[in-house]
């Protein structure tokens, strides 16, 4: 089944704290796992992405951890800032050239000053 389960639905973090969002999937026919950030009134913007042959990828304050055997991946936001307040979506690309992304339902992150 092509499904990505994302948790939590909402998250409140203090400025400077670590935000952690988790995703899990069942279909092993995914070959690319991006995270998108969406601000109100805007379309989602690609934040960071990972392929299944890599266990971790870091870009600035954002890190993806990928556990292939557990079929789980997570986004860590270090030193969270109020400007990070947004909705975050994990996604997985169906392999085989379909170019289709299956999205989680999103996590609304609020970073308090």
């Amino acid at each position: 089944q092509q499904q990505v389960k994302q948790s939590p639905q909402s998250l409140i973090v203090q400025k400077g704290g670590i935000s952690i969002i988790n995703c899990a999937y069942e279909n092993t026919a995914f070959d690319y796992f991006p995270w998108y950030q969406q601000f109100p009134g805007k379309g989602p913007a690609l934040l960071i992405a990972i392929r299944p042959d890599v266990s971790e990828k870091k870009e600035g304050r954002f890190t993806i951890s990928f556990n292939k055997s557990a079929k789980q991946f997570s986004l860590h936001i270090m030193d969270s800032q109020p400007g990070d307040s947004a909705t975050y979506f994990c996604a997985a690309r169906v392999q085989g050239g379909s170019e289709k992304l299956v999205f989680g339902k999103g996590t609304k992150l609020t970073v308090n000053p």
Binding site: Y32, P34, Y36, G41, K42, G43, P44, A45, L46, A49, F89, A91, S98, E99, K100, L101, V102, F103, G104, K105, G106
Partner: protein, 113 residues
């Protein structure tokens, strides 16, 4: 570089009417994707066009259709609108090769009354 542009930004239609949404991809991108973002449902894949052809279709009824023009811009048509079609419709584009995620537009907010 101009991003993905969508028009109109907002639209109100009556149940049973038809609507056409438009999308211009990033210059040089040949693939266009359409997603529906309904409240609480995350992003649902609608359609993928590449080089003028429909390449993949999501689990939506036939009243959702579209096309891609020779300049790679695209239209999404929805016939016989229903109240549950109210959503943000997002268009994204990507290069034809070297796929590394989509770039989304800001979307068209469709309200069906």
């Amino acid at each position: 570089e101009a991003g993905v542009t969508q028009s109109p930004t907002h639209l109100i239609k009556t149940r049973g009417q038809q609507v056409t949404l438009r999308c211009s991809p990033i210059s040089g991108h040949t693939s266009v994707y359409w997603y529906q973002q309904a409240l609480g449902l995350g992003l649902q894949f609608l359609l993928w066009y590449d080089e003028g052809e429909e390449r993949n279709r999501g689990n939506f009824p036939p009243r959702f259709s579209g096309r891609q023009f020779p300049n790679y811009s695209s239209e999404l048509n929805v016939n016989a609108l229903e109240l549950e079609d109210s959503a943000l419709y997002l268009c994204a584009s990507s290069p034809g090769t070297g796929w590394d995620g989509y770039t989304f537009g800001s979307g068209t907010r469709l309200t069906v009354v």
